[in-house]
């Protein structure tokens, strides 16, 4: 997995939970627009990237924003559509995601062949601007009355201690997973140290969550609610299953000649593997 894909995942995973707190304690519209703006800034940096490192930085910033965009979309539905009709809207969001995953690689390929790979990222700017303007003009989120609160108390609500522990924990885990078995063997001291640091930090994080109660990033009473706990396991395991098929950034990165990733992503290999196997029926081996 190249850094183009993983820098995005790294930041998305790291701040996803924090966005839950931001949407709880701050104006939903402001948080959502900020998330879109971050995503667009990241896309702009990617599109204009003079070097491979700039592209990775752009992907990281876009990942920060995207953590809030997906989340925010669902939360806006929850504040504007009655619960009984929400399943339809959630279905529409899911379908859009599906359609975009087909259209994205196709458009990416077309841009790369006929224009420039940079347009794979620039295309986000007009689309994002339309969304941004639409939200500014039309979204009126019902704001609950908030008691005026000192800045310090507001920041404490966001669980700064938990966040400071959680970010490096996730970064250690994802870098260990990226390196293990590919760049370094699993027995390499670097990989082992990263995994140990992850285990220690995540344990401290869980203790902080229990101790912080309602001010925790994930208050224990929320995640221990029966449906939430079982639902978390369901969505985690099915996402793992689905990931063997997901399309990803690998295709676009592969077609950017000056910034080829160090290895093809497994998805790319899977897909081209299928393609090869499909296109050559003359290889009908005895199994």
């Amino acid at each position: 997995m190249g850094w183009y894909a993983s820098s995005y995942l790294l930041t998305t995973c790291s701040v996803q939970l924090l966005f839950g707190k931001l949407y709880t304690h701050f104006n939903i519209k402001v948080v959502y627009l900020s998330a879109i703006a971050l995503f667009e800034l990241g896309s702009l940096i990617c599109g204009a990237a003079p070097t491979s490192n700039a592209l990775i930085l752009g992907r990281a910033i876009a990942g920060l924003g995207s953590a809030g965009v997906f989340n925010g979309g669902v939360i806006i539905i929850s504040r504007t559509v009655p619960l009984v009709r929400r399943p339809i809207y959630v279905g529409i969001v899911g379908s859009m995601y599906g359609i975009a995953s087909v259209a994205g690689p196709l458009m990416g390929g077309a841009f790369t062949d006929h224009l420039s790979w940079r347009w794979c990222f620039y295309i986000n700017l007009p689309i994002g601007s339309i969304t941004f303007a639409g939200i500014v003009l039309f979204l009126k989120t019902p704001e609950k009355e908030r008691a005026p609160m000192a800045l310090r108390a507001r920041i404490l609500q966001l669980d700064p201690l938990g966040t400071v522990i959680f970010l490096p924990a996730i970064i250690c885990l994802l870098i260990a997973l990226q390196w293990g078995g590919t760049k370094y063997p699993w027995s390499d001291s670097r990989v082992i140290v990263l995994l140990v640091v992850f285990a220690v930090l995540i344990s401290i994080f869980i203790i902080v969550q229990i101790y912080n109660k309602d001010n925790a990033t994930v208050p224990p009473r929320i995640i221990s609610q029966r449906s939430m706990a079982f639902g978390s396991w369901y969505i985690f395991s099915v996402s793992i299953s689905r990931a063997s098929f997901l399309t990803d950034f690998g295709d676009q990165a592969n077609s950017c000649p000056s910034c080829r990733p160090h290895s093809s992503s497994p998805y790319t290999i899977f897909r081209s593997g299928f393609k090869l196997l499909r296109e050559h029926p003359q290889f009908t081996p005895e199994l």
Binding site: G91, G98, F236, S239, S244, F245, S263, T284
Partner: protein
């Protein structure tokens, strides 16, 4: 191209959306998602180089139907069982587990695939340096690297490595039953709505 998969996802996500609004319950669709996704992934792992298009397309589509039935609808849990003030945090937690699962599987899939491929190739060509086949080599240019007389064996090794990766996917889809069985049957109908008209 994963078109059949995505057609399955889109079709089923819409059907499930309308059906849940009519029936009120999302849990049966999450249960169905577990069953159909596990079935689809299991079938995908049986594919062979000589398997025809109907098999590839059908299995991919079946897996997509399984994903579409439950994955997005899971966010409804946070909105149905939690207080309005807790829904953003609950939603964030569910989406976090979705992202984390994907991030972990990228690495696991790559590891399983590469290790199985190398082991399979070594079994057929004891003297081969497998690193010459990995690195920047996707399967599209496998033919440029492998002499034609060995291509069949390499394809079989490649196919077996793919199947091993799908076994992981099928196992995880099956294990998701321990989540979907525990989710309460709670209707989206008749709950307190906290929506203020816009």
């Amino acid at each position: 191209m994963n078109l059949p998969l995505l057609l399955g996802v889109v079709f089923m996500a819409m059907i499930a959306g309308f059906a849940i609004t009519l029936m009120g319950y999302y849990t049966p669709f999450i249960l169905m998602s577990t069953i159909v996704a596990a079935l689809g992934m299991g079938l995908l792992s049986t594919l062979k180089p000589e398997s025809g298009h109907p098999m590839w397309i059908g299995y991919e589509c079946l897996f997509g139907l399984g994903i579409g039935a439950g994955l997005m609808q899971t966010v409804l849990i946070a909105q149905t069982v939690l207080d309005i003030d807790d829904t953003p945090t609950g939603t964030a937690a569910l989406i976090f587990f979705q992202t984390l699962g994907g991030a972990i599987m990228i690495s696991v899939a790559q590891n399983v695939f590469q290790n199985r491929l190398i082991a399979n190739l070594k079994a057929v060509f004891p003297g081969l340096d497998p690193s010459s086949l990995l690195g920047n080599t996707g399967a599209t240019n496998l033919q440029d690297v492998v002499p034609p007389e060995y291509l069949t064996q390499v394809l079989i090794a490649y196919n077996k490595a793919l199947s091993s990766t799908f076994y992981v996917g099928a196992a995880m889809a099956s294990l998701s039953v321990f989540g979907s069985l525990g989710i309460e049957w709670k209707s989206v109908k008749g709950q307190n709505d906290h929506v203020v008209a816009v």
